[in-house]
């Protein structure tokens, strides 16, 4: 990477080209919505339940770590 790319001006140009053309007027990624709608209902539920349980496990582990730190 050349030094030119780390100037703020260069980053501004780069950010412009990163604009997400999948976003609608609300700023919502419609591509993500369409990908979700391609799943069946059962697949959506399975994915959500898995994500929720992973999230809760991460939260619980973080909580235990914090408690251990304060002891």
């Amino acid at each position: 990477m050349s030094e030119e790319r780390v100037t703020s001006e260069a980053y501004t140009k780069t950010v412009d080209t990163w604009k997400n053309t999948n976003e609608d007027e609300r700023g919502v990624d419609v591509g993500q919505i369409r990908a979700q709608l391609n799943l069946t209902v059962a697949e959506r539920v399975r994915q959500m339940v898995h994500s929720a349980n992973v999230f809760m496990t991460v939260q619980e582990n973080a909580r235990r770590f914090r408690e251990a730190q304060t002891q």
Binding site: D24, R26, Q32, Q36, T40, V41, A42
Partner: protein, 273 residues
């Protein structure tokens, strides 16, 4: 603690409880990818149903959830009947909220049930799920910070669903929804008199042949249908891919439905894997 809303619904169904799934879980069923860690239901307040609900909750070892703690309580029909608005519970399968009168125009169970549909959330498990319109209206009315955060996404989801259903010609939509509920007359009304249906290599000619096909198709099994894609091939030809899930061998199949229209009706339908 695990979150297993499928098991919660399975127990509710086994006890024959009348309820509608609402809130974030209902939104997931409708296509939302916003996370949720509990399941919200609106149960019927009919006394017999509250007794059945109490039995289901006892099976799940439900406790009242207050400020992060769980309080064991004897839950019976009379107890539930005394709950005016809401009961927050924690069960062996995760958190669950009973909402007797959620915010929004739908009101109580009857209002939510009117707009709800039966959906398959897991193999062989069908539950009544609130419409996305009712979920959005409820969140807009409740107007909590988390509702405000979710609304743009849910409204864009609704726009996409409307766009998908609007573009498909009426005859195709009417045929598919009538066929889903096994309404042969309403399905048949979408075909021309000299229509032809080809299904699994077999041809059914004319309106009588199409009627034979409609009576035969899906008569052995129960299934739910999800539109995977809908593509306009020409002005008079559409290809719709439907994913069927049910109690037939294999449990799931994607089928391509090619519709050729004459005027407003279906003249030819070819169904193939």
């Amino acid at each position: 603690m695990i979150f297993d809303p499928v098991q919660i619904c399975a127990i509710l169904n086994e006890e024959r409880v009348d309820y509608v799934v609402v809130g974030g879980f209902a939104a997931v069923v409708r296509g939302s990818s916003l996370p949720t860690r509990d399941i919200d239901i609106v149960p019927s307040r009919v006394p017999e149903n509250l007794d059945l609900l109490a039995r289901a909750l006892t099976r799940m070892n439900a406790k009242i959830r207050i400020d992060g703690d769980s309080v064991p309580t004897k839950i019976d029909g009379a107890f539930l009947a005394n709950m005016p608005f809401m009961l927050n519970l924690v069960t062996d399968f995760g958190e669950m909220d009973l909402t007797f009168a959620p915010a929004g125009r739908a009101g109580g169970y009857d209002g939510w049930r009117a707009g709800a549909t039966l959906e398959t959330i897991s193999d062989g498990l069908m539950v009544v799920v609130a419409s996305l319109d009712d979920v959005i209206d409820s969140k807009r009315t409740a107007n909590r910070a988390k509702d405000q955060a979710a609304l743009p996404y849910l409204e864009s989801l609704r726009d996409e669903l409307r766009r998908r259903s609007r573009e498909i010609p009426n005859a195709i939509t009417m045929y598919q929804t009538a066929h889903d509920r096994k309404d042969v007359a309403a399905s048949l009304a979408q075909f021309t008199l000299d229509a032809r249906v080809v299904d699994d290599g077999r041809t059914y000619e004319g309106i009588d042949g199409v009627e034979t096909f409609l009576r035969k198709a899906g008569s052995e099994y129960t299934y739910t249908r999800t539109v995977i894609s809908a593509e306009e091939i020409t002005a008079k030809c559409w290809r719709v891919t439907n994913r069927l899930e049910g109690n037939f061998p294999g449990g799931q199949v994607d089928l391509s439905y090619e519709f050729h229209l004459e005027g407003e009706l279906i003249a030819r339908l070819t169904i193939a894997p």
